[in-house]
């Protein structure tokens, strides 16, 4: 059993860091380096660089140079990257502990109170070793991991080298990631980490790799609040595809991730207050998603499983888990069925516009659906790639639901600077799906007369 090096390293780090924080202990500054070394045996088959051809390699180097320059030239130049994610990393870099007044005293000012700690902790570790700007090399490393995962997975799926090179070039130069706006690779936002984890999860799904899928699903809720939704969507789509062990591994991974992160988040969001046990319901979300997907795959189970998982989701919404976050607010509104129907067309229009925005994502999300439609018309089965398309589609609907049900006072902010970031989290999955589908319809070897 093997797993890619990056998610294996991050999972080891998260599995040690969160219990240490729960016990009130600081993280040693060498923890990330030690986890990287410890993950090497798991990843021994994943360390060879994939062949990209001249075009793919050139685009990758250009993109990498731009992202590295942008990340390391200054501190984050974009609002949330500086005031939320970066500021938390600076506090954690002091001694790696959550026992500092800024975390333990609710009266201190911290705009990112209750935000997930995976990225700030990783950045704090790299900053300790490489300095405040050098530590930001974390971001180009994460971005590179996304590109190499796409290349490696497409090679493994039998895509021709030139197709792989073109897909890598298409992703490497994508404005949503390489231009320095909110959520871009060098912005300091956690959207890049989510995009990387989603790409690893999608690659694991395409290659039927349980451990890699479980690790990516474990890390998603620790990276950003919406990671819980992403992991659940992927688990449900994998289960609906009908391959037993992989979605079960994903549901277990996500549940373990939530069991470690949710109590810590409850403590951080309301320091000293009674956090209650609402968070205990959250690990049931991916399990309900697994049941829902499995029910879709088996005709006889469809109705009972769909109703059962909806009941679980309703109970979670009613008990108020994640209450301190915008996502928790959306859950609560869903529980009350408090849907702003008149706003839905505007929100849905915005989300789908961002998914086809030529200057941000180009054909990233359009191309895989066009190729899939063409293949289906020719009677070609989509194999595992159908699950990725379903996940992208459900994720877009989830963004619509989140913006509609989230806090009203934040809706215009989400529409202006949030929706494009949430959509861009799926760009790696988009190019993975596009490349895998294009490989289905590759031309036969040319014959000379």
């Amino acid at each position: 059993m093997s797993a890619p090096w990056l998610p294996a390293t991050l999972a080891l780090f998260a599995l040690i860091a969160h219990p240490l924080w729960l016990l009130g202990l600081p993280l040693p500054s060498w923890l990330l380096a030690a986890c990287g070394l410890a993950a090497l045996p798991l990843a021994r088959r994943e360390l060879r660089p994939p062949r990209l051809g001249v075009l793919g390699a050139s685009a990758l180097l250009l993109g990498l140079a731009a992202v590295t320059w942008g990340a390391c030239a200054t501190d984050s130049r974009v609002w949330d990257g500086f005031v939320a994610w970066g500021a938390t990393a600076k506090w954690l870099a002091l001694d790696g502990s959550l026992q500092q007044p800024v975390f333990t005293e609710g009266a201190t000012y911290l705009p990112s109170r209750g935000y997930p700690l995976l990225q700030p902790a990783l950045l704090a570790q790299t900053m300790t070793w490489l300095g405040p700007l050098g530590g930001r090399l974390l971001f180009p490393c994460l971005w590179l991991s996304m590109l190499l995962t796409v290349a490696r997975t497409l090679h493994a799926r039998g895509a021709p080298p030139r197709t792989v090179g073109l897909c890598v070039a298409a992703l490497a130069l994508l404005p949503a990631m390489t231009e320095g706006r909110e959520g871009a690779a060098d912005s300091g936002y956690a959207d890049l980490l989510v995009a990387v984890l989603l790409t690893h999860a999608a690659a694991a799904l395409l290659r039927d790799r349980r451990l890699a899928f479980a690790l990516a699903c474990l890390l998603l809720p620790m990276a950003k609040n919406e990671g819980l939704v992403h992991a659940s969507v992927l688990v449900a789509c994998a289960a609906a595809r009908g391959r037993g062990a992989v979605p079960i591994a994903g549901a277990i991974g996500a549940a373990v991730g939530l069991l470690l992160w949710a109590p810590l988040q409850a403590r951080l969001a309301a320091p000293g207050g009674a956090s209650g046990a609402a968070w205990l319901a959250l690990p049931l979300v991916p399990v309900a998603a697994l049941a829902f997907g499995a029910g879709l795959a088996r005709r006889r189970w469809r109705l009972p499983l769909a109703l059962g998982s909806l009941a679980v989701a309703g109970a979670i919404a009613a008990c108020g888990g994640f209450a301190a976050t915008a996502l928790g607010g959306a859950f609560a509104a869903l529980g009350r069925f408090d849907v702003p129907w008149s706003e839905l067309p505007r929100i849905a229009g915005r989300v789908f516009y961002e998914a086809i925005h030529p200057v941000k994502v180009g054909l990233t999300f359009l191309l895989p659906f066009v190729v899939a439609a063409w293949l289906r018309r020719r009677g070609v089965a989509l194999d595992g790639t159908g699950a990725l398309l379903a996940a992208i589609g459900v994720a877009l609907l989830a963004i619509v639901a989140f913006v509609a049900l989230g806090p009203v006072q934040l809706r215009s902010d989400f529409l202006r600077t949030g929706v494009d970031r949430y959509v861009a989290q799926w760009v790696g999955v988009g190019w993975l799906a596009a490349g895998a589908l294009l490989a289905h319809g590759r031309p036969a070897e040319p014959e000379l007369l």
């Binding site: 080298p161 298409a170 130069l173 066009v370």
Partner: protein
């Protein structure tokens, strides 16, 4: 004499070169790659270079570039003069420009003015009591007035 292969048409060349069939799908893929490649020098290099240059010139005031002059003066003064082991008090709802102020002042603690004790401390730390114009504190503490969120002001207050 062996038969000579006919010259492949553009469509089949496109498919063969990209490894993608049919040719219109190959053309879509190439169109995307060409578009992002053409945009790269302007969007990812030139614009980024301008932003980096501006951010390096602004230094810690980068996130306050649209703020008024007094706000910028207070931020620059606090960054230069507030000791790292002291707390900075603020008043107001804590939105807007308070967010980058707290980040730029880290690792100094930022606490609400209501927490300041009669002895001029909060959460066990001395609260910064300087004044940009050199006005003596006389037992008062300094507070960032962020009531508006779009501008920051500095005042000296007496502890309750």
């Amino acid at each position: 004499m062996p038969p000579i292969a006919p010259a492949p048409k553009l469509a089949s060349r496109l498919s063969h070169w990209t490894g993608v069939a049919p040719a219109w799908l190959a053309a879509l893929l190439l169109a995307h790659v060409a578009f992002v490649a053409l945009r790269f020098p302007q969007g990812s290099v030139r614009k980024r270079g301008q932003l980096i240059e501006a951010a390096q010139a602004a230094g810690p005031l980068w996130h306050f570039v649209h703020a008024d002059g007094e706000t910028k003066r207070i931020v620059a003064w606090l960054v230069r003069h507030a000791p790292a082991d002291q707390a900075i008090a603020y008043d107001g709802p804590g939105r807007g420009l308070m967010e980058p102020l707290a980040a730029v002042l880290a690792p100094r603690l930022v606490v609400h003015a209501s927490l300041v004790q009669p002895d001029g401390t909060a959460l066990g730390r001395r609260v910064f009591a300087g004044h940009p114009a050199g006005e003596p504190a006389n037992g008062r503490f300094g507070v960032v007035d962020a009531t508006d969120g779009s501008e920051l002001r500095w005042a000296l207050r007496s502890p309750r």
